[in-house]
Symmetry: D2
Subunit: 280 residues, 4 copies
Amino acid sequence: MTNQTLILIQCRDAVGLVATISNTVANHGLNIVTMREYVDEAANRFYVRIVCAGQAEDNDRLTADLTVALPEGATVVVNPPEQKRLAILVTKEHHCLGDIIVRHFFNTLDAKVCCVVGNYDTLRAFTERFDIPFHHISHESKSKEQFEEEVAETVETYQPDYLVLAKFMRILSSDFVSRYPGRIINIHHSFLPAFIGANPYKQAHERGVKLIGATAHFVTDDLDQGPIIAQDIKPVNHSFTVKDMVRAGKEVEKSVLSKALRMVIEDRVIITGNRTVVFE
Amino acid sequence: MTNQTLILIQCRDAVGLVATISNTVANHGLNIVTMREYVDEAANRFYVRIVCAGQAEDNDRLTADLTVALPEGATVVVNPPEQKRLAILVTKEHHCLGDIIVRHFFNTLDAKVCCVVGNYDTLRAFTERFDIPFHHISHESKSKEQFEEEVAETVETYQPDYLVLAKFMRILSSDFVSRYPGRIINIHHSFLPAFIGANPYKQAHERGVKLIGATAHFVTDDLDQGPIIAQDIKPVNHSFTVKDMVRAGKEVEKSVLSKALRMVIEDRVIITGNRTVVFE
Amino acid sequence: MTNQTLILIQCRDAVGLVATISNTVANHGLNIVTMREYVDEAANRFYVRIVCAGQAEDNDRLTADLTVALPEGATVVVNPPEQKRLAILVTKEHHCLGDIIVRHFFNTLDAKVCCVVGNYDTLRAFTERFDIPFHHISHESKSKEQFEEEVAETVETYQPDYLVLAKFMRILSSDFVSRYPGRIINIHHSFLPAFIGANPYKQAHERGVKLIGATAHFVTDDLDQGPIIAQDIKPVNHSFTVKDMVRAGKEVEKSVLSKALRMVIEDRVIITGNRTVVFE
Amino acid sequence: MTNQTLILIQCRDAVGLVATISNTVANHGLNIVTMREYVDEAANRFYVRIVCAGQAEDNDRLTADLTVALPEGATVVVNPPEQKRLAILVTKEHHCLGDIIVRHFFNTLDAKVCCVVGNYDTLRAFTERFDIPFHHISHESKSKEQFEEEVAETVETYQPDYLVLAKFMRILSSDFVSRYPGRIINIHHSFLPAFIGANPYKQAHERGVKLIGATAHFVTDDLDQGPIIAQDIKPVNHSFTVKDMVRAGKEVEKSVLSKALRMVIEDRVIITGNRTVVFE
């Protein structure tokens, strides 16, 4: 990517934005290779992701020139940090963590796993085999407030760009979530039709669903209702036991979270209201 | 299928059922080609679908011999009617009806569409092009009871095996549903996560889902909660308008209903509690 | 679409093309709603599909202004005809024709089926039920040259934009194909791994494939090797007979051709060398 | 699985086989839970996989009784070894190995990875992190015969049930393959349409395919033509570079090999001629 410039812009929609942006970019000697834009008409917002060949002489001036040329309040990011830092939060299930760490080890994640925090100690041995720090912070015999404070303190020593809830089974408070707006990614099982409450796979089995799904989303105050990044399903049938459904669910959770992370890491995801724009 | 015998059995689970059944079948000179069985352990029920090469000399005696040999209360069906009769109920949307009628016309449905009943007249022209009777029974200016009575009367003159709700947008009463237990098939949009209430596609769009789904199910008293026969999804993305999502939804509804009908028509679907066993 | 302008451009790649284009468009008072572009680096070609809000006062001047501003040899199309005209060529199989004609009947094809030409008479009855002209042109007792001449003569009286080979089982000569460059669309079964020669489904069955596929492509001189527009698959398994595989194949052929047609009809497909760019 | 008995049978097809088998099984006090059978009519062969509740008092006698009762030449296996031993052969690519080893580490593979053999040393560090022996056997400066002899010698010290070619990029000789009939599993990229020869992804990119696939198969003399166990695809589009296609290909290879291994490990795969029966 060293010979490319990535530009991310969002602003109020207006006539002539593409002309304005492309002129400014051309004035800095950059040639647009791909440009993906989206207008959220309901919100009157314009979003664009531009990959240019070449590097501007001065990224700060490019940023400033774009900001001046665009409607007031525009957000312009030129070359966001390439190597995102991830803090992974886990409980006991390993399928998502295993996938992330192996990709990290082989340098195909394009991000750095800076630490793993578990409210159980179960996944320490695996994590430490890859020389990644593992912190066991139990949620037991303490208030949620105190537990989250400890997690936040630990996590923040690593200055992560994103917190990834890789089957982290504690519900986070609004207070905690609001510290990391648009920076917490969760993976959640999903079903057609949906089941709420305990034992969703048991409910799904009793109902005889023919699909098992998963949803990766940003975490907001509203539990499991944040902007969706990626979703997928696997077919199941009547011969699947609850255990078989759980296994199928893990496969799809792993693969959906992996895709969502790649999209986020490559700066392809923009949050607009309670939706995402994903420039695949 | 003329040189094959299809046997469907359900009964209380017990030791040695397969031996009992296969001995009885062999005594009638039939050779088992495929046998698919399922035990619902929670319900202690045994289900089997057997295809045999050849025809028994006397199907009634085969049925009787099997019934005697099996645990009390067993249901045994030998060679269910091959040509099922379908009554299709519609409102205004054509995508599912179009698919069913074209398959019917080209003899690939393996069932007879005996009539179409619409609470609007919209789909008459299409239906009548294929020489299929169309009955317009408006739901307006009459009670639900009276409306359903008219529908039932009309439908019953055709003695259908199944009622197919091919985007029929009226909610049927328990009374109506209970006349056709396990014989009404509906197609329903579904989403991950699910949306309840009006304008589900608008809700899905606002939430930014990445999948649009559909569920074909038997209709029971509990609205949209009957045993699921088939489900599928199509991927969507942020660039889909509500209208695009509706179009994607129609494609998947059409294809899921088509698959569910084929499974039912080929006697591959068994209802067990609130689930189905589908011997694909 | 009446309040939108669609612009399709292809030209040699160069620095500043997006700026040039967006300036010219803005000068004509149009606001870009979506812009999808692609650079084929190997071929040094630039392709863009732009949807603008509003209508230019003078489309011819807009076209001329864009052409002048762009590198020599640019192709600029402003508002291509919305209602494409399709001539459908068939043999005996109905699954693709049925799908196309039903969509046409219900105005969801966004194109006009102007005629159906069959080298057998099999599909006349179906076609004529929809008041679409059907021409039976037998290939028997005449040279390929003569047969194709008759087809061309018939087809051309309808001035179609595209010829759709909806399971047309005659191989077209280079001469015929070269009359309609980029305007003949075919649907072809495909397998993993591929099978060449007679009875591909029999071969696929003997090999025990687990997927059945289909490919919609533009027809070029090189049989079945033209630019691919759309592909999809359906899973199969060992229990599928050859006949079952054929049926599964038809479902996927129908759905892939339908998707390809929609992409072409909405001017989303551009041929670049032997590939397509599909701006979904 | 300790309270279940798994029975695998294949024999010449004949009338009454299911009766014969189920009687014999019942005589040993076992109750059939699931029974999946398949008749290869072309080959006149019968295959069955039976799961029974309970354990026979004497498995050897059960095996003998079944063998006597069945047509001559029947193969009967009662309770095949549950913990299969796998020897993994690799070159430099890590995606399949990573997946297998992580599943192994967390005990979800239901098999034992007894060793990894690489013709390069690239994957040693990863393998050894999991305390699995890694053997580097270079193919350089020696004959294929000698290389394969060294591989065989090394592998055989571990007495593996299966050899898994997890992106092993050397072509194995007939001699080598014939030592392990039905015991070598390979993962192979596949395309629609297929590309043979060097750089398949480059060819696929040039052709503009819309799907990237993978095929897991048993290795036979006929290179890449052995019985297929599992296949799957991922959609791609014109914006995918060759590198993007390779990445998509790796995801699908990993997931297809993983599925094939699970099927083999659970004794769900039977080879019949050049096909497999997979009792999913």
